[in-house]
Subunit: 361 residues, 2 copies
Amino acid sequence: MTGTAVIAEPPQSAAIRRWVATVLDDFLRCKTRAAMDLRMPAEVAWTLRDFLAAGGKRLRPLLCVIGWQAAGGHGTPAFVVKAAASLEMFHAFALIHDDVMDNSDSRRGAPTVHRRLARHQDVSRNAPSAERLGTSSAILIGDLALAWSDELLHNAGLTSSQLAAVLPLLHVMRTEVMYGQYLDVTAAGRPTCDVDRAWQIVRYKTAKYTIERPLHIGAALAGAPPAMHETLSAYALPLGEAFQLRDDILGVFGDPSTTGKPCLDDLRDGKNTVLIALALQRATPGQRSTLQTLLGNPELDGAGADRIRQVLISSGARDELERMINGRRAQAVRALDAAPYPLAATAALRQLAHTATARTS
Amino acid sequence: MTGTAVIAEPPQSAAIRRWVATVLDDFLRCKTRAAMDLRMPAEVAWTLRDFLAAGGKRLRPLLCVIGWQAAGGHGTPAFVVKAAASLEMFHAFALIHDDVMDNSDSRRGAPTVHRRLARHQDVSRNAPSAERLGTSSAILIGDLALAWSDELLHNAGLTSSQLAAVLPLLHVMRTEVMYGQYLDVTAAGRPTCDVDRAWQIVRYKTAKYTIERPLHIGAALAGAPPAMHETLSAYALPLGEAFQLRDDILGVFGDPSTTGKPCLDDLRDGKNTVLIALALQRATPGQRSTLQTLLGNPELDGAGADRIRQVLISSGARDELERMINGRRAQAVRALDAAPYPLAATAALRQLAHTATARTS
């Protein structure tokens, strides 16, 4: 995608991902058994388990563990992994609800939760009724994922002082990402050249939520002082922005077989991304009219999408985004130079700066 | 509605309701200011504030405070009221999402949150786009209410041992009500004579959530032993069932100007209530066919609803429900006879058994 060589990630990352997956799977097996004991529908916990098992980069749990280590925490204790896994459960909530709001068909290469649940309805229901039921069930499964992320955290075995350090950060994180999503949803359908607004969405919906807060939460578990949170932010925010810009490019130019997401959704929704705002700023009057006509059209087809892509390339917006990604990644890596983290944590963060921005999925 | 004389409630209840309202209002004013400081949309916290200020019986916070007093807690300390208010914030989440799932037009005599937000959209959006945006915004505002209910609880000033006693109950309560709602939503549209299934929905969606768990949570704050939780359940579960049966009757026979909810929604949704299941059991073949044709029809009109009401009356289902309400209320009140609560708490619970089942809204 970007010409950056693929850099192998340290073995620790793979081990943490597997451990997080096991924690989530064990938790949801318990929930499935508990539901069956109460004569409650087992498909609720199953669906969530399938969704979580289907993949995902597990970026937030990974960053939580690295944050713990950066702040001087030793090794990878179970309570840190469990707290990290609770962030992944929260993320499942966020994705399931986002997909309902965006009316998306697929995620991680499979039907979204609401589509899947709509298909599972009794065939005697008519299509609108099954669709409505799929949406309602997905809203509820998302709600449960949010509630269960709390359970995972509170049963992680944290001390009261660790809990007291983590909860305010968790509360801020939740509010930030929900506001970010609110801005994203309410701005969709009418793209503008307001780059500031697009950046605000990037910061709240992604940079803080995906990179900064997981690092802060991990560091708080290790008792990090406020100054270390600032040092972590100096790395996290530019990297989080670069991560989202890569996502914006993949959302339009990515290969759906690799990203697991359709490449027309962002365009049909008329998402207010930095990529689109920049293109609208730089476009000739003719190009601008093309974008304004086609973006946010729910019937947009492949040919229309190609015309949009052409404008994004010829206006220079795509190249500008690549420059922004490189600049921000460099800024994030520079922030590590003076940081007081143990060597292994610094190496993991440097590594992650590359994998998070050079990815193809 | 029921012929039961109106019994004045003790002055304590009104004072607790006012205090809870103030806690919620203060919290959401802070959230509004914080949003404005971050250049975030202020309408999110405003909308929630309006929704919470529009009324509601505040039954759950009231029961939480009474649970505290029943277990020997003295007076009405601020931390108990704040914990109680967090239950009302959670309830706002539940109602906002329920209304999205049920596609309801009004609640508490005003447009539901998703309808209100759809109307507030820029007039240049077409109707389906505004409606979708209203729904997405309401899902997010509900999500925030759930997240903020946690913040309210964690900032209530509880000790670590109080928090440790309350959190497992809170987690169970959330899972129970979400499962109850899941059952309710997935069973809607095809009423059956399966009374057991209807009772399961009543227990999880209402009896435990509305009466039992708030009492348990209040009692846990006062350090109540497990035996006292059982004593409270002996009162709470029959009362909670009676409360929901009253709701089912009001949902069909209530005066919308008093209930604040349209009286066609439950019938159009084809909700699987005990009232409907009993009527289907007792109906003549002709009556059954009337119910099966009309229930769950989204186009049901006033004349159709009158025909359904006629069957509910002539089949004897409505009278049977009134008998069930009286029987369960009596059972709840009897459970107070041997209970070891202070006199004032017992009096408040006896009082509440009447107001919760003889209400008209």
